[in-house]
Amino acid sequence: MSYSKPKFKKTYGNFINGKFVDPVGGEYFENRSPIDNSLIAKYPRSQKEDVEMALDAANAAKESWGNTPAAERAALLYKVADIIEENLEEFALVETCDNGKAIRETLNADVPLSVDHWRYFAACIRAEEGTATELDANTLSMNIKEPLGVVGQIIPWNFPLLMLSWKLPPALATGNCVVLKPAEQTPASATLLMEKIADVFPPGVVNVIHGFGPEAGKPLASSSKLSKVAFTGETTTGQLIMQYASKNLNPVTMELGGKSPNIFFNSVMDADDDYLDKAIEGAVLFAFNQGEVCTCPSRMLVQEKIYDKFMERVVRRTKAIVQDNPYDTKTMMGAQASNDQYEKIKSYLDIGKEEGAKVLCGGEANKLDGDLANGFYIKPTILEGHNKMRVFQEEIFGPVVCVTKFKDEKEAIEIANDTLYGLGAGVWTRDAHQLYQIPRAIKAGRVWVNCYHAYPAHAPFGGYKKSGFGRENHLMMLNYYRQTKNMLISYDKKKLGFF
Protein backbone atom coordinates (compact mmCIF):
# COMPACT_ATOMS: atom_id res chain seq x y z
CA MET A 1 0.00 0.00 0.00
CA SER A 2 1.26 3.45 -0.82
CA TYR A 3 0.31 6.74 0.77
CA SER A 4 1.03 10.21 -0.53
CA LYS A 5 2.25 13.42 1.04
CA PRO A 6 -0.29 14.76 3.58
CA LYS A 7 -1.79 18.23 3.27
CA PHE A 8 -0.54 21.11 5.40
CA LYS A 9 -1.51 24.73 5.95
CA LYS A 10 0.85 27.36 4.55
CA THR A 11 1.98 28.61 7.94
CA TYR A 12 1.67 27.55 11.55
CA GLY A 13 2.01 29.43 14.81
CA ASN A 14 3.43 28.74 18.23
CA PHE A 15 1.04 27.13 20.70
CA ILE A 16 0.99 29.44 23.73
CA ASN A 17 -1.59 29.75 26.49
CA GLY A 18 -4.01 27.38 24.78
CA LYS A 19 -4.03 28.94 21.33
CA PHE A 20 -1.93 29.33 18.21
CA VAL A 21 -0.18 32.69 17.99
CA ASP A 22 2.04 34.30 15.38
CA PRO A 23 5.67 34.91 16.31
CA VAL A 24 6.21 38.41 17.72
CA GLY A 25 8.83 39.26 15.10
CA GLY A 26 6.62 37.96 12.27
CA GLU A 27 9.38 35.73 10.91
CA TYR A 28 8.96 32.11 9.76
CA PHE A 29 11.25 29.39 8.49
CA GLU A 30 10.58 26.88 5.73
CA ASN A 31 10.29 23.28 6.77
CA ARG A 32 11.10 20.79 4.02
CA SER A 33 10.54 17.07 3.67
CA PRO A 34 13.75 15.02 3.44
CA ILE A 35 11.87 12.55 1.23
CA ASP A 36 12.03 14.84 -1.80
CA ASN A 37 13.15 18.20 -0.37
CA SER A 38 9.67 19.64 -1.06
CA LEU A 39 8.16 22.38 1.13
CA ILE A 40 5.94 21.20 3.98
CA ALA A 41 4.97 24.52 5.57
CA LYS A 42 6.37 27.56 7.34
CA TYR A 43 6.86 27.52 11.10
CA PRO A 44 7.59 30.41 13.48
CA ARG A 45 11.15 31.60 13.76
CA SER A 46 10.65 32.48 17.41
CA GLN A 47 12.86 34.82 19.39
CA LYS A 48 13.33 35.53 23.07
CA GLU A 49 10.03 37.49 23.24
CA ASP A 50 8.05 34.44 22.09
CA VAL A 51 9.82 32.21 24.58
CA GLU A 52 9.08 34.70 27.37
CA MET A 53 5.43 34.74 26.43
CA ALA A 54 5.27 30.95 26.67
CA LEU A 55 7.14 30.95 29.98
CA ASP A 56 4.79 33.57 31.42
CA ALA A 57 1.76 31.56 30.33
CA ALA A 58 3.20 28.42 31.92
CA ASN A 59 4.03 30.23 35.16
CA ALA A 60 0.53 31.69 35.34
CA ALA A 61 -0.96 28.21 34.98
CA LYS A 62 1.31 26.31 37.37
CA GLU A 63 -0.48 26.91 40.67
CA SER A 64 -3.81 25.74 39.43
CA TRP A 65 -2.43 22.80 37.41
CA GLY A 66 -0.17 21.70 40.26
CA ASN A 67 -3.20 21.59 42.57
CA THR A 68 -5.42 19.74 40.11
CA PRO A 69 -6.22 16.27 41.48
CA ALA A 70 -4.10 13.49 40.00
CA ALA A 71 -7.27 11.77 38.86
CA GLU A 72 -8.17 14.76 36.70
CA ARG A 73 -4.67 15.13 35.31
CA ALA A 74 -4.57 11.43 34.48
CA ALA A 75 -7.95 11.63 32.75
CA LEU A 76 -6.59 14.34 30.45
CA LEU A 77 -3.50 12.28 29.63
CA TYR A 78 -5.76 9.36 28.70
CA LYS A 79 -7.70 11.74 26.49
CA VAL A 80 -4.52 12.73 24.61
CA ALA A 81 -3.68 9.04 24.13
CA ASP A 82 -7.13 8.40 22.69
CA ILE A 83 -6.85 11.36 20.33
CA ILE A 84 -3.47 10.21 18.99
CA GLU A 85 -4.82 6.69 18.59
CA GLU A 86 -7.95 7.84 16.76
CA ASN A 87 -5.73 9.75 14.33
CA LEU A 88 -2.92 7.21 14.15
CA GLU A 89 -2.66 7.19 10.36
CA GLU A 90 -2.59 10.99 10.09
CA PHE A 91 0.15 11.27 12.72
CA ALA A 92 2.15 8.52 11.01
CA LEU A 93 1.92 10.24 7.64
CA VAL A 94 2.90 13.64 8.99
CA GLU A 95 5.83 12.09 10.84
CA THR A 96 7.04 10.22 7.77
CA CYS A 97 6.75 13.36 5.65
CA ASP A 98 8.64 15.49 8.16
CA ASN A 99 11.35 13.08 9.24
CA GLY A 100 11.77 10.86 6.16
CA LYS A 101 11.37 7.54 7.98
CA ALA A 102 9.38 4.72 6.40
CA ILE A 103 5.62 4.74 6.99
CA ARG A 104 5.92 1.12 8.14
CA GLU A 105 7.82 2.37 11.19
CA THR A 106 5.61 5.35 12.02
CA LEU A 107 2.42 3.25 11.73
CA ASN A 108 3.74 0.40 13.85
CA ALA A 109 6.28 1.96 16.19
CA ASP A 110 6.42 5.76 16.59
CA VAL A 111 2.70 6.47 16.92
CA PRO A 112 1.44 3.39 18.84
CA LEU A 113 4.36 3.69 21.27
CA SER A 114 3.55 7.37 21.78
CA VAL A 115 -0.03 6.44 22.68
CA ASP A 116 1.23 3.91 25.19
CA HIS A 117 3.55 6.39 26.92
CA TRP A 118 0.66 8.80 27.55
CA ARG A 119 -1.38 5.95 29.03
CA TYR A 120 1.48 4.60 31.08
CA PHE A 121 2.07 7.89 32.92
CA ALA A 122 -1.65 8.46 33.35
CA ALA A 123 -1.75 5.11 35.13
CA CYS A 124 1.45 5.69 37.15
CA ILE A 125 0.32 8.90 38.73
CA ARG A 126 -2.80 7.20 40.07
CA ALA A 127 -1.01 4.15 41.40
CA GLU A 128 1.96 5.63 43.23
CA GLU A 129 1.91 7.48 46.53
CA GLY A 130 4.11 9.34 48.96
CA THR A 131 5.60 7.82 52.09
CA ALA A 132 5.19 8.23 55.82
CA THR A 133 7.38 6.97 58.64
CA GLU A 134 6.76 7.02 62.36
CA LEU A 135 10.17 8.13 63.59
CA ASP A 136 9.19 7.66 67.22
CA ALA A 137 5.92 7.32 69.10
CA ASN A 138 5.16 11.04 68.70
CA THR A 139 6.92 12.01 65.46
CA LEU A 140 5.72 11.41 61.97
CA SER A 141 7.80 12.08 58.87
CA MET A 142 5.62 12.50 55.81
CA ASN A 143 6.94 12.83 52.28
CA ILE A 144 4.68 14.62 49.85
CA LYS A 145 5.66 14.88 46.20
CA GLU A 146 5.25 18.34 44.73
CA PRO A 147 5.66 19.48 41.13
CA LEU A 148 8.74 21.52 40.22
CA GLY A 149 6.67 24.20 38.52
CA VAL A 150 7.59 25.05 34.93
CA VAL A 151 9.76 22.70 32.91
CA GLY A 152 11.60 23.37 29.64
CA GLN A 153 11.94 20.44 27.26
CA ILE A 154 14.11 20.41 24.16
CA ILE A 155 13.50 17.36 22.01
CA PRO A 156 15.28 15.86 19.00
CA TRP A 157 14.26 15.20 15.41
CA ASN A 158 14.77 11.45 15.13
CA PHE A 159 11.46 10.41 16.76
CA PRO A 160 9.65 13.74 17.00
CA LEU A 161 6.28 12.56 18.32
CA LEU A 162 7.69 9.72 20.40
CA MET A 163 10.34 11.86 22.09
CA LEU A 164 7.64 14.42 22.84
CA SER A 165 5.59 11.55 24.29
CA TRP A 166 8.53 10.43 26.43
CA LYS A 167 8.95 13.90 27.90
CA LEU A 168 5.55 15.59 28.13
CA PRO A 169 3.38 12.97 29.92
CA PRO A 170 5.54 12.48 33.05
CA ALA A 171 5.98 16.25 33.44
CA LEU A 172 2.25 16.87 33.08
CA ALA A 173 1.22 13.89 35.18
CA THR A 174 3.27 15.22 38.09
CA GLY A 175 1.58 18.63 37.84
CA ASN A 176 4.16 20.68 35.97
CA CYS A 177 3.52 23.14 33.17
CA VAL A 178 5.75 22.77 30.13
CA VAL A 179 7.36 24.89 27.44
CA LEU A 180 8.51 22.46 24.78
CA LYS A 181 10.70 23.21 21.80
CA PRO A 182 10.67 20.63 19.01
CA ALA A 183 13.75 20.35 16.80
CA GLU A 184 13.67 22.81 13.92
CA GLN A 185 14.00 19.94 11.41
CA THR A 186 10.77 18.35 12.58
CA PRO A 187 8.13 20.76 13.90
CA ALA A 188 5.16 19.12 12.19
CA SER A 189 3.88 16.35 14.48
CA ALA A 190 4.13 18.47 17.65
CA THR A 191 2.06 21.13 15.87
CA LEU A 192 -0.50 18.57 14.68
CA LEU A 193 -0.78 17.29 18.25
CA MET A 194 -1.41 20.80 19.59
CA GLU A 195 -4.13 21.27 16.95
CA LYS A 196 -5.82 18.05 18.05
CA ILE A 197 -5.51 18.60 21.79
CA ALA A 198 -5.86 22.41 21.88
CA ASP A 199 -8.80 22.24 24.29
CA VAL A 200 -7.69 19.30 26.43
CA PHE A 201 -5.49 21.08 28.97
CA PRO A 202 -6.16 24.42 30.69
CA PRO A 203 -4.42 27.31 28.86
CA GLY A 204 -0.70 27.62 29.66
CA VAL A 205 -0.20 24.04 30.84
CA VAL A 206 1.36 22.94 27.54
CA ASN A 207 3.17 25.41 25.29
CA VAL A 208 5.07 24.62 22.10
CA ILE A 209 7.45 27.10 20.52
CA HIS A 210 9.32 26.66 17.26
CA GLY A 211 12.54 28.20 16.09
CA PHE A 212 16.29 27.86 15.89
CA GLY A 213 18.57 26.77 18.71
CA PRO A 214 20.58 29.98 19.12
CA GLU A 215 17.47 32.20 18.88
CA ALA A 216 14.76 30.23 20.70
CA GLY A 217 16.44 27.21 22.30
CA LYS A 218 19.04 29.21 24.18
CA PRO A 219 16.64 31.74 25.78
CA LEU A 220 14.47 28.80 26.85
CA ALA A 221 17.30 26.75 28.31
CA SER A 222 18.84 29.71 30.13
CA SER A 223 15.63 31.20 31.54
CA SER A 224 15.31 31.83 35.26
CA LYS A 225 11.56 31.30 34.88
CA LEU A 226 12.10 27.56 34.64
CA SER A 227 12.60 24.99 37.38
CA LYS A 228 14.16 22.32 35.19
CA VAL A 229 15.43 21.60 31.70
CA ALA A 230 15.26 18.19 30.03
CA PHE A 231 17.39 17.84 26.92
CA THR A 232 18.08 15.19 24.32
CA GLY A 233 20.90 16.01 21.93
CA GLU A 234 24.69 16.22 21.76
CA THR A 235 27.48 16.87 24.20
CA THR A 236 28.43 20.50 23.50
CA THR A 237 24.84 21.74 23.74
CA GLY A 238 24.44 19.47 26.78
CA GLN A 239 27.35 21.23 28.43
CA LEU A 240 25.90 24.66 27.55
CA ILE A 241 22.50 23.77 29.00
CA MET A 242 24.13 22.53 32.20
CA GLN A 243 26.07 25.79 32.46
CA TYR A 244 22.86 27.82 32.13
CA ALA A 245 21.15 25.56 34.66
CA SER A 246 24.03 26.06 37.08
CA LYS A 247 23.37 29.82 37.04
CA ASN A 248 19.77 29.15 38.05
CA LEU A 249 20.69 26.19 40.29
CA ASN A 250 18.20 24.12 38.37
CA PRO A 251 18.25 20.36 37.84
CA VAL A 252 18.68 18.97 34.33
CA THR A 253 18.35 15.63 32.61
CA MET A 254 20.63 14.85 29.70
CA GLU A 255 20.32 12.22 27.03
CA LEU A 256 23.33 12.66 24.81
CA GLY A 257 23.67 9.68 22.53
CA GLY A 258 25.96 6.69 22.32
CA LYS A 259 28.01 4.27 20.32
CA SER A 260 26.33 1.10 21.37
CA PRO A 261 28.00 -2.30 21.05
CA ASN A 262 25.94 -5.27 19.86
CA ILE A 263 27.80 -8.44 20.89
CA PHE A 264 27.34 -11.88 19.32
CA PHE A 265 28.91 -14.89 21.05
CA ASN A 266 29.75 -18.23 19.37
CA SER A 267 26.69 -20.00 20.76
CA VAL A 268 24.44 -17.80 18.61
CA MET A 269 25.23 -20.18 15.73
CA ASP A 270 24.86 -23.44 17.64
CA ALA A 271 21.73 -24.14 15.65
CA ASP A 272 20.12 -22.74 12.54
CA ASP A 273 16.78 -22.00 14.15
CA ASP A 274 14.37 -19.17 14.99
CA TYR A 275 16.81 -17.82 17.54
CA LEU A 276 19.60 -17.44 14.98
CA ASP A 277 17.13 -15.77 12.64
CA LYS A 278 16.27 -13.33 15.44
CA ALA A 279 19.95 -12.66 16.18
CA ILE A 280 20.64 -11.84 12.52
CA GLU A 281 17.74 -9.43 12.53
CA GLY A 282 19.16 -8.02 15.80
CA ALA A 283 22.43 -7.28 14.01
CA VAL A 284 20.63 -5.61 11.09
CA LEU A 285 18.63 -3.38 13.44
CA PHE A 286 21.43 -0.81 12.97
CA ALA A 287 19.38 0.25 9.93
CA PHE A 288 16.22 0.83 12.00
CA ASN A 289 15.07 4.44 11.61
CA GLN A 290 17.94 4.97 9.10
CA GLY A 291 20.33 4.58 12.03
CA GLU A 292 19.07 7.83 13.53
CA VAL A 293 18.66 6.41 17.00
CA CYS A 294 20.81 7.39 19.97
CA THR A 295 21.03 3.69 20.84
CA CYS A 296 21.74 2.56 17.28
CA PRO A 297 23.71 -0.71 17.60
CA SER A 298 26.46 0.94 15.59
CA ARG A 299 29.33 -1.30 16.76
CA MET A 300 28.93 -5.01 16.04
CA LEU A 301 31.24 -7.35 17.96
CA VAL A 302 31.28 -10.92 16.68
CA GLN A 303 33.22 -13.82 18.21
CA GLU A 304 35.98 -15.24 16.00
CA LYS A 305 34.71 -18.76 15.49
CA ILE A 306 31.41 -17.70 13.96
CA TYR A 307 32.59 -14.44 12.40
CA ASP A 308 32.68 -15.40 8.70
CA LYS A 309 29.50 -17.46 8.65
CA PHE A 310 27.53 -15.02 10.80
CA MET A 311 28.62 -11.97 8.83
CA GLU A 312 27.75 -13.65 5.56
CA ARG A 313 24.18 -14.01 6.82
CA VAL A 314 24.10 -10.45 8.21
CA VAL A 315 25.36 -8.96 4.94
CA ARG A 316 22.81 -10.96 2.97
CA ARG A 317 19.98 -9.72 5.24
CA THR A 318 21.24 -6.13 5.03
CA LYS A 319 21.33 -6.26 1.23
CA ALA A 320 17.69 -7.36 1.29
CA ILE A 321 16.61 -4.09 2.95
CA VAL A 322 14.18 -2.27 0.69
CA GLN A 323 15.06 1.43 0.54
CA ASP A 324 12.49 3.25 -1.51
CA ASN A 325 9.58 5.68 -1.25
CA PRO A 326 8.98 6.13 2.50
CA TYR A 327 5.21 6.45 1.89
CA ASP A 328 5.09 2.84 0.63
CA THR A 329 4.39 0.24 3.33
CA LYS A 330 6.81 -2.19 1.62
CA THR A 331 9.70 0.24 2.15
CA MET A 332 11.92 -0.71 5.10
CA MET A 333 14.26 2.25 5.16
CA GLY A 334 13.61 5.88 4.23
CA ALA A 335 15.55 9.12 3.98
CA GLN A 336 17.99 10.72 6.42
CA ALA A 337 16.31 13.62 8.19
CA SER A 338 18.21 16.50 6.58
CA ASN A 339 20.90 17.45 4.10
CA ASP A 340 23.50 18.25 6.74
CA GLN A 341 23.03 14.79 8.29
CA TYR A 342 23.33 13.26 4.83
CA GLU A 343 26.58 15.16 4.23
CA LYS A 344 27.90 14.25 7.67
CA ILE A 345 27.25 10.54 7.14
CA LYS A 346 29.03 10.67 3.78
CA SER A 347 32.01 12.38 5.41
CA TYR A 348 32.17 9.48 7.90
CA LEU A 349 32.06 6.93 5.09
CA ASP A 350 35.05 8.77 3.59
CA ILE A 351 37.16 8.79 6.77
CA GLY A 352 36.18 5.17 7.48
CA LYS A 353 37.47 4.06 4.12
CA GLU A 354 40.59 6.20 4.46
CA GLU A 355 41.36 4.63 7.83
CA GLY A 356 41.22 1.25 6.14
CA ALA A 357 37.76 -0.01 7.04
CA LYS A 358 36.51 -2.56 4.53
CA VAL A 359 33.06 -1.94 3.05
CA LEU A 360 31.08 -5.20 3.36
CA CYS A 361 27.99 -3.61 1.84
CA GLY A 362 26.60 -0.16 1.06
CA GLY A 363 29.20 2.52 1.70
CA GLU A 364 27.61 5.23 -0.39
CA ALA A 365 24.54 7.39 -0.97
CA ASN A 366 21.55 5.88 -2.71
CA LYS A 367 20.20 7.88 -5.64
CA LEU A 368 16.51 7.08 -6.04
CA ASP A 369 14.39 7.95 -9.07
CA GLY A 370 11.92 10.74 -9.81
CA ASP A 371 11.12 13.24 -7.03
CA LEU A 372 13.01 11.06 -4.58
CA ALA A 373 16.23 12.01 -6.39
CA ASN A 374 16.12 15.23 -4.35
CA GLY A 375 15.87 13.33 -1.06
CA PHE A 376 18.63 12.22 1.32
CA TYR A 377 19.16 8.47 1.05
CA ILE A 378 22.16 6.46 2.27
CA LYS A 379 22.56 2.73 1.59
CA PRO A 380 22.67 0.55 4.71
CA THR A 381 26.37 0.11 5.29
CA ILE A 382 28.57 -2.40 7.09
CA LEU A 383 32.20 -1.40 7.66
CA GLU A 384 34.73 -3.92 8.92
CA GLY A 385 37.62 -2.56 10.97
CA HIS A 386 38.90 -2.11 14.53
CA ASN A 387 37.64 -0.23 17.55
CA LYS A 388 40.23 2.58 17.42
CA MET A 389 38.93 3.83 14.09
CA ARG A 390 36.91 7.00 14.27
CA VAL A 391 33.88 5.33 12.70
CA PHE A 392 33.88 3.00 15.74
CA GLN A 393 34.07 5.88 18.19
CA GLU A 394 31.77 8.59 16.92
CA GLU A 395 28.05 8.67 16.60
CA ILE A 396 27.43 8.78 12.86
CA PHE A 397 23.65 8.83 13.32
CA GLY A 398 23.16 7.04 10.04
CA PRO A 399 22.61 3.48 8.75
CA VAL A 400 26.22 2.53 9.33
CA VAL A 401 27.46 -0.31 11.53
CA CYS A 402 31.14 -1.03 12.18
CA VAL A 403 31.99 -4.65 12.81
CA THR A 404 35.00 -6.23 14.49
CA LYS A 405 36.02 -9.62 15.93
CA PHE A 406 36.78 -10.66 19.48
CA LYS A 407 38.46 -13.74 20.95
CA ASP A 408 36.85 -14.23 24.32
CA GLU A 409 34.58 -12.66 26.95
CA LYS A 410 37.36 -10.49 28.33
CA GLU A 411 38.11 -8.94 24.96
CA ALA A 412 34.41 -8.48 24.21
CA ILE A 413 33.96 -6.49 27.42
CA GLU A 414 37.13 -4.47 26.79
CA ILE A 415 36.00 -3.43 23.32
CA ALA A 416 32.42 -2.81 24.43
CA ASN A 417 33.58 -0.42 27.17
CA ASP A 418 36.28 1.29 25.08
CA THR A 419 34.02 4.22 24.19
CA LEU A 420 33.15 7.62 25.61
CA TYR A 421 29.50 6.67 25.73
CA GLY A 422 27.31 4.25 27.65
CA LEU A 423 23.72 4.41 26.53
CA GLY A 424 22.80 1.05 25.03
CA ALA A 425 24.28 -2.38 24.33
CA GLY A 426 23.14 -5.72 23.01
CA VAL A 427 24.25 -9.18 24.15
CA TRP A 428 23.36 -12.28 22.13
CA THR A 429 24.19 -15.72 23.51
CA ARG A 430 22.61 -19.06 24.40
CA ASP A 431 24.94 -19.41 27.40
CA ALA A 432 23.06 -18.82 30.67
CA HIS A 433 26.14 -17.48 32.46
CA GLN A 434 27.00 -14.99 29.76
CA LEU A 435 23.38 -13.85 29.69
CA TYR A 436 23.85 -12.33 33.14
CA GLN A 437 27.57 -11.68 33.53
CA ILE A 438 28.29 -9.87 30.28
CA PRO A 439 25.48 -7.30 30.62
CA ARG A 440 26.60 -6.60 34.20
CA ALA A 441 30.14 -5.87 32.97
CA ILE A 442 29.07 -3.41 30.29
CA LYS A 443 28.96 0.23 31.34
CA ALA A 444 25.71 1.26 29.75
CA GLY A 445 22.27 2.26 31.03
CA ARG A 446 20.33 -0.21 28.89
CA VAL A 447 21.57 -3.66 27.90
CA TRP A 448 19.26 -5.62 25.64
CA VAL A 449 19.76 -9.33 26.14
CA ASN A 450 18.77 -11.48 23.16
CA CYS A 451 16.78 -8.58 21.78
CA TYR A 452 17.39 -4.99 20.70
CA HIS A 453 15.59 -1.69 20.09
CA ALA A 454 12.64 -2.41 22.39
CA TYR A 455 11.46 0.73 24.22
CA PRO A 456 8.61 -0.14 26.58
CA ALA A 457 7.30 2.68 28.75
CA HIS A 458 7.78 0.48 31.81
CA ALA A 459 11.61 0.14 31.55
CA PRO A 460 13.99 2.98 32.55
CA PHE A 461 16.19 4.40 29.81
CA GLY A 462 19.27 6.58 30.11
CA GLY A 463 23.03 6.79 29.90
CA TYR A 464 26.27 6.15 31.72
CA LYS A 465 29.45 8.14 31.01
CA LYS A 466 29.12 10.83 28.32
CA SER A 467 25.71 9.58 27.31
CA GLY A 468 24.22 11.76 30.02
CA PHE A 469 22.35 11.22 33.27
CA GLY A 470 18.85 10.95 34.56
CA ARG A 471 16.38 8.42 33.24
CA GLU A 472 13.38 8.51 30.97
CA ASN A 473 10.32 6.27 30.96
CA HIS A 474 9.37 4.08 33.94
CA LEU A 475 7.69 5.10 37.17
CA MET A 476 11.03 6.44 38.47
CA MET A 477 10.82 9.27 35.94
CA LEU A 478 8.07 10.94 37.97
CA ASN A 479 10.65 11.94 40.56
CA TYR A 480 12.77 13.71 37.94
CA TYR A 481 9.91 16.20 37.70
CA ARG A 482 9.19 16.64 41.42
CA GLN A 483 10.37 18.00 44.70
CA THR A 484 10.02 16.11 47.95
CA LYS A 485 8.22 18.05 50.66
CA ASN A 486 9.03 16.51 53.98
CA MET A 487 6.59 17.35 56.74
CA LEU A 488 8.01 16.51 60.15
CA ILE A 489 5.10 16.44 62.54
CA SER A 490 5.29 16.26 66.32
CA TYR A 491 2.37 14.88 68.30
CA ASP A 492 4.25 15.39 71.55
CA LYS A 493 2.69 17.98 73.89
CA LYS A 494 5.89 18.33 75.96
CA LYS A 495 8.50 21.01 75.21
CA LEU A 496 12.13 20.18 74.35
CA GLY A 497 13.32 21.72 77.63
CA PHE A 498 16.17 23.76 76.07
CA PHE A 499 14.69 27.22 76.74
Partner: protein, 118 residues
Amino acid sequence: MQRIAITDLAAKTVRELKTKHGVLIFHQSGGCCDGSSPMLLEKDDIYLDESDVLLGRIEGIDFYMNKDQYEYWKHTHLTIDITEGRGASFSLEIPLGKRFITRSRLLTEEERKFFGDN
Protein backbone atom coordinates in the same frame (compact mmCIF):
# COMPACT_ATOMS: atom_id res chain seq x y z
CA MET B 1 51.17 23.51 10.58
CA GLN B 2 48.03 22.65 12.56
CA ARG B 3 45.48 19.88 12.87
CA ILE B 4 42.62 21.95 11.60
CA ALA B 5 41.70 23.90 8.46
CA ILE B 6 38.64 25.60 7.03
CA THR B 7 37.22 25.78 3.52
CA ASP B 8 36.76 29.15 1.80
CA LEU B 9 33.00 28.76 1.84
CA ALA B 10 32.91 28.03 5.58
CA ALA B 11 35.34 30.91 6.23
CA LYS B 12 32.98 33.30 4.46
CA THR B 13 30.13 32.39 6.81
CA VAL B 14 32.44 32.64 9.82
CA ARG B 15 33.35 36.20 8.78
CA GLU B 16 29.66 37.12 8.45
CA LEU B 17 28.92 35.74 11.90
CA LYS B 18 31.92 37.48 13.47
CA THR B 19 30.57 40.79 12.23
CA LYS B 20 27.22 40.04 13.79
CA HIS B 21 28.20 38.36 17.08
CA GLY B 22 31.75 39.50 17.91
CA VAL B 23 34.33 37.13 19.38
CA LEU B 24 33.54 33.51 18.59
CA ILE B 25 34.75 30.01 19.38
CA PHE B 26 34.42 26.60 17.73
CA HIS B 27 33.76 23.55 19.88
CA GLN B 28 33.55 20.07 18.35
CA SER B 29 30.55 18.19 19.67
CA GLY B 30 29.99 14.47 20.10
CA GLY B 31 27.01 12.19 20.58
CA CYS B 32 23.44 12.15 19.43
CA CYS B 33 21.54 14.01 16.71
CA ASP B 34 23.70 17.01 15.82
CA GLY B 35 26.65 15.38 17.56
CA SER B 36 29.95 14.89 15.77
CA SER B 37 29.39 18.39 14.32
CA PRO B 38 31.33 21.56 15.12
CA MET B 39 29.50 24.25 17.08
CA LEU B 40 30.23 27.94 16.52
CA LEU B 41 29.45 29.86 19.69
CA GLU B 42 29.97 33.25 21.24
CA LYS B 43 33.29 32.95 23.05
CA ASP B 44 31.99 33.65 26.54
CA ASP B 45 29.13 31.22 26.13
CA ILE B 46 31.09 28.07 26.86
CA TYR B 47 33.19 27.29 29.91
CA LEU B 48 36.59 25.86 28.95
CA ASP B 49 39.26 24.36 31.16
CA GLU B 50 42.07 21.81 31.02
CA SER B 51 39.59 19.19 29.82
CA ASP B 52 39.46 21.01 26.47
CA VAL B 53 42.18 20.79 23.85
CA LEU B 54 42.97 23.67 21.47
CA LEU B 55 43.37 22.16 18.01
CA GLY B 56 44.29 25.37 16.27
CA ARG B 57 42.94 28.63 14.98
CA ILE B 58 40.85 28.99 11.83
CA GLU B 59 39.70 32.32 10.42
CA GLY B 60 40.93 33.89 13.64
CA ILE B 61 38.79 31.60 15.81
CA ASP B 62 40.06 29.04 18.30
CA PHE B 63 38.87 25.49 17.73
CA TYR B 64 38.49 23.30 20.82
CA MET B 65 37.55 19.70 21.49
CA ASN B 66 37.04 17.81 24.70
CA LYS B 67 40.22 15.97 25.72
CA ASP B 68 38.58 12.53 25.96
CA GLN B 69 37.21 12.92 22.48
CA TYR B 70 40.51 14.24 21.17
CA GLU B 71 42.21 10.99 22.21
CA TYR B 72 40.11 9.16 19.62
CA TRP B 73 40.43 11.87 16.97
CA LYS B 74 44.06 12.97 17.18
CA HIS B 75 45.38 10.83 14.33
CA THR B 76 43.19 12.76 11.90
CA HIS B 77 43.29 16.19 10.33
CA LEU B 78 40.01 18.11 10.32
CA THR B 79 38.66 20.56 7.77
CA ILE B 80 35.63 22.61 8.68
CA ASP B 81 33.25 22.84 5.76
CA ILE B 82 29.71 24.12 5.42
CA THR B 83 26.60 22.71 3.79
CA GLU B 84 22.97 23.59 3.28
CA GLY B 85 21.02 22.21 6.18
CA ARG B 86 19.21 22.67 9.40
CA GLY B 87 20.97 21.75 12.57
CA ALA B 88 19.28 21.51 15.93
CA SER B 89 21.76 22.98 18.37
CA PHE B 90 22.92 26.42 19.50
CA SER B 91 25.48 26.81 16.70
CA LEU B 92 25.24 30.33 15.31
CA GLU B 93 25.06 29.56 11.57
CA ILE B 94 21.83 27.53 11.91
CA PRO B 95 19.46 30.50 11.34
CA LEU B 96 21.21 31.03 7.97
CA GLY B 97 19.96 27.62 6.78
CA LYS B 98 23.53 26.35 6.79
CA ARG B 99 25.45 23.89 8.92
CA PHE B 100 29.17 23.50 9.54
CA ILE B 101 30.43 19.97 9.10
CA THR B 102 33.75 18.38 9.96
CA ARG B 103 35.57 16.58 7.17
CA SER B 104 38.50 14.40 8.15
CA ARG B 105 41.57 12.74 6.71
CA LEU B 106 44.48 10.85 8.25
CA LEU B 107 47.48 12.96 9.26
CA THR B 108 50.32 12.71 6.74
CA GLU B 109 53.68 11.24 7.75
CA GLU B 110 55.10 14.76 7.80
CA GLU B 111 52.30 16.05 10.03
CA ARG B 112 52.66 13.13 12.42
CA LYS B 113 56.37 13.88 12.81
CA PHE B 114 55.65 17.58 13.28
CA PHE B 115 53.12 16.96 16.05
CA GLY B 116 55.32 14.28 17.59
CA ASP B 117 52.55 11.67 17.36
CA ASN B 118 53.33 8.01 17.13
